[in-house]
Amino acid sequence: MLLRSIRAHLLPNLATLTLALVVSAGAVGVVGASRVGQTPGAVAAMLALYGAVALAEQSARSVIDRSHDVALARLRGMHGARLVLFAAGPLIAISLTGIAVGSAIGTWLAGRISDGWGIAYSVGTREVVVAVAVLVGAWCTIVLVSAAVIRRPLVDALSVHPRRHPASWLTTFLELLVVAAACLAVYQAHRSEQSWVAAVAPALVALAAGQLVMWALAWTPRLGSRLGLALASRRLRRDPDPASVVRILVAAAILLAVTLTGGRTAADWRDDAGHLRAGGPLVLPFSDGALRAYAATQDADPQGKWLMAAVAIDDLDPARRRVYVDATRWDAVVGDFLGGTSVAGASRHMRTLADQGGPPMMRADSIQVDVSSIADAGTGRVVVNYLSDQGYAQATRLRIDRPGKVTGALNACVVGCALLSIELSGDPFEVSSVRAGDAHLLGTTSYAGGPTSHARTVDSGTAAAAMLATQELGSASVLDGIDGKTHAVQVIGSVGAVPFVGRSGSLLDLGQVLRGAVGTVAAARSVVVARADTPADVLARLAKEGAGKPTTYAAVADQLEETPSARADSLALLIAVGVGLVALAHLLAWLGAQLGRRRAEVAGLRAAGIAPRAVRRAYVVEAGLLAGIVLVTATIAAAATTVPLLEPIRLVGGWAQAPAPDLAVHPATLASVVVGVAVLTAVLCALVFTRFGRAARPAALRSVDQ
């Protein structure tokens, strides 16, 4: 009898089975995966809540479809628990099957997802609890609706022209409850730290928005005098079924918009954060300090095509968080890599930063002084102070006692060192040049004797250093230098974030700050950023000059992909798929029920003299109107709710200093969701509505039993 009953109402029962399967598979899968992935499992509530409403509605429709059979059973004397079992039995069996199979699929899904994360999975009690909760929820709904059907007056249940009943107080109460719960959830999500409230809010808000649309549609005025619009507007006003389908579709559009926008926002954030945190495609540390890194890039890549030195000082105080880059190489080395990220705007200011100039570099093992004159028996002294490529201040002292070349050793300057100053002292003398390798350090200079003459001093100058800063640091006027000394700065532009240090900090030119700087603060991290296509020999040379093991952008991005929030992001996409399937199953179930109803309606319209072509045209208009309503209401609802719903959700994680995710409605994502849902509605409705044939001829209405 059970099987016969299921077969007699195959289409609605199949829809119920599908819904039960999708909801339980999605909920169990997400909860299981979130348990092992340490992500908030409450996200499953989004699908569970939405699915529960769709499942309840479909179950109610299925039970009501059987009200005639139930009435006949009552006439045969069936009553009590046996009658309830007769009314509810088929759906109880179907929902049990659907939820059991769905839970098994969900467990398998959780295992596959966990495998993808590289985590071992075994079924936990949470999954069992979720499956049982879905089952109990479905059964409660079925029993409640069955009880309502059993209480229906026999005359009504057995009528050839069954009347629609106004919504019961329980239905109205539950609808109001959803709206109230949605308001409360949004309020609570914005003021509470509890993540489950924020995870549940989208489903409640989506259902509430759908409910508001459904209530509004009950007031649809008669639209136009043409058959299509008249039929569509009358049906929307008088038949709760299409409006309830619109409710589910609008809710689906909102949930899809929220999950997909959240997913895209998080993906964009990970991309941005990954690029910023990595700083470049390849990043090689230089433990010997900033000058060594700077010098190494000049040595290994003299043309500035592939390498750029950088120093990041990641201070706890955002005002002292600063990054120095070799601005002359920015565009060539990281211009493309950081294009499209929060720091992309820095490129247009790099010329100004680069124009400040860098330190005079020397790469040699000796210094040559050309002495043009000195008094007989006179003794002079040339002292060249420089910063060695190991980061220490060094001095080369040359004694001068006759005209001609004087040479002195230059220590730790193989990779490159920076001139700090040249001092002349002793008896009067004149030098025509001071050179270190190719570097011309001093031209013709006369020393008249007396106090020590500072023939050349390299420092950062008196002008304020040009600086780019994130917005909150836009008014800074002084900043610690690379050596910890305070310098005047001038903010010449704003950036959204700074490589290596994230959302707060300053970006300055490394060359400018290296002029005259001695030493590097302990917190400084000196690196060389290399393009992904840097030739191997250049990298080999860099390694030879002291570069450490490179970090790749891919490795940094992988780290961000392995965070719980990234895992939650992939689970949200699974939820989106589940929501889409639930909406599709619900729409198809309704359309399945429409097949029979519309045939009778078409037969009536044709009997009244309306041509089948006119009926078809009218139904296409009706399908278009339904799709239009879904499109407009879903667009408005999704655009209005997406950002407020995403704000309290912790979408991203893995780098505390990363820029905040850019929460905004993505027009392309929103458009693809609402247009997709609307087009699917239009196409499926038009296909089903107009699919009437011989069964919809007026002759079908000849008598009751036919």
Partner: protein, 241 residues
């Protein structure tokens, strides 16, 4: 003859100018190997109310359906004005109006809209269709129910809406299947009066019925049994109580 004296409510209708007989020639219908109708030849004349009676399953509704062109006979044909009633798609000609046993109303539309829709299908403007629909509903004493959705109406009210819809289009052929089955005596007689009025306008009126009073009131009585004509005087369905 009216017992309720409400002829004043009957909308003005032009008489039918080109009167023609509705003819059934050697009509048979076989459904699943069973002959529902067997070689019937009948003529229904304008200005005449014809009753079709007989036991359940005798073929009354089928005969009406073939006569109205919504069912194709297995053999023979029905014709009116020299044209076959069956047009190939199962839709009735615009000259034909049905009062169906199951009404065939559109549940989501109001009583007025159900009537107006038949008029709109015949090219009547929306405002005129609504006006005439109200007149027709008034004609059947349900003018106050015009705005009500038909599924909110009782069986009798729905039946009168179905009558109003059929009568509204001023059909040349009016085929009514049990048009009084859910009506009280007063309304039954009123509907019969309206059928007579339509016949008086020159329409062919055929009524399938079990109601002896309706049979009694008909101008011509046809009795069917197992798909065959039965002489009226031999049948208990011929109106004699």
């Amino acid at each position: 003859m009216s017992t309720l004296g409400r002829h004043a409510l009957v909308p003005e209708r032009d008489p039918i100018s080109a009167e023609s007989d509705l003819e059934l020639e050697d009509v048979s219908l076989n459904v699943g190997g069973r002959w529902v109708l067997e070689r019937l030849s009948l003529t229904f004349r304008p200005g005449e109310v014809t009753s079709l009676s007989g036991p359940s399953g005798s073929g009354k509704t089928t005969l009406l359906s073939i006569a109205g062109g919504i069912v194709k006979p297995s053999t023979g044909f029905a014709s009116y004005g020299g044209q076959h009633m069956w047009q190939g798609d199962g839709d009735p000609r615009h000259a034909v109006a049905f009062v169906l046993q199951v009404y065939g109303l559109v549940p989501i539309l109001s009583a007025r809209e159900n009537v107006a829709i038949a008029l709109r299908a015949r090219g009547v403007s929306p405002s005129e269709a609504d006006e005439r629909a109200d007149e027709e509903l008034d004609r059947f004493h349900i003018g106050d129910l015009g705005a009500r959705q038909v599924e909110e109406l009782s069986g009798g009210q729905m039946q009168r809406v179905a009558c109003a819809r059929a009568f509204a289009v001023s059909p040349e052929i009016l085929l009514a299947d049990e048009p009084t089955s859910e009506l009280d005596e007063g309304n039954r007689e009123h509907v019969m009066d309206q059928l007579r009025t339509e016949a008086g306008r020159g329409a062919i009126v055929v009524v399938a019925t079990h109601d002896p009073a309706v049979v009694e009131a008909a101008d011509r009585k046809i009795v069917l049994d197992e798909g065959r004509l039965v002489p009226a005087e031999d049948s208990a369905y011929a109106g004699g109580r």
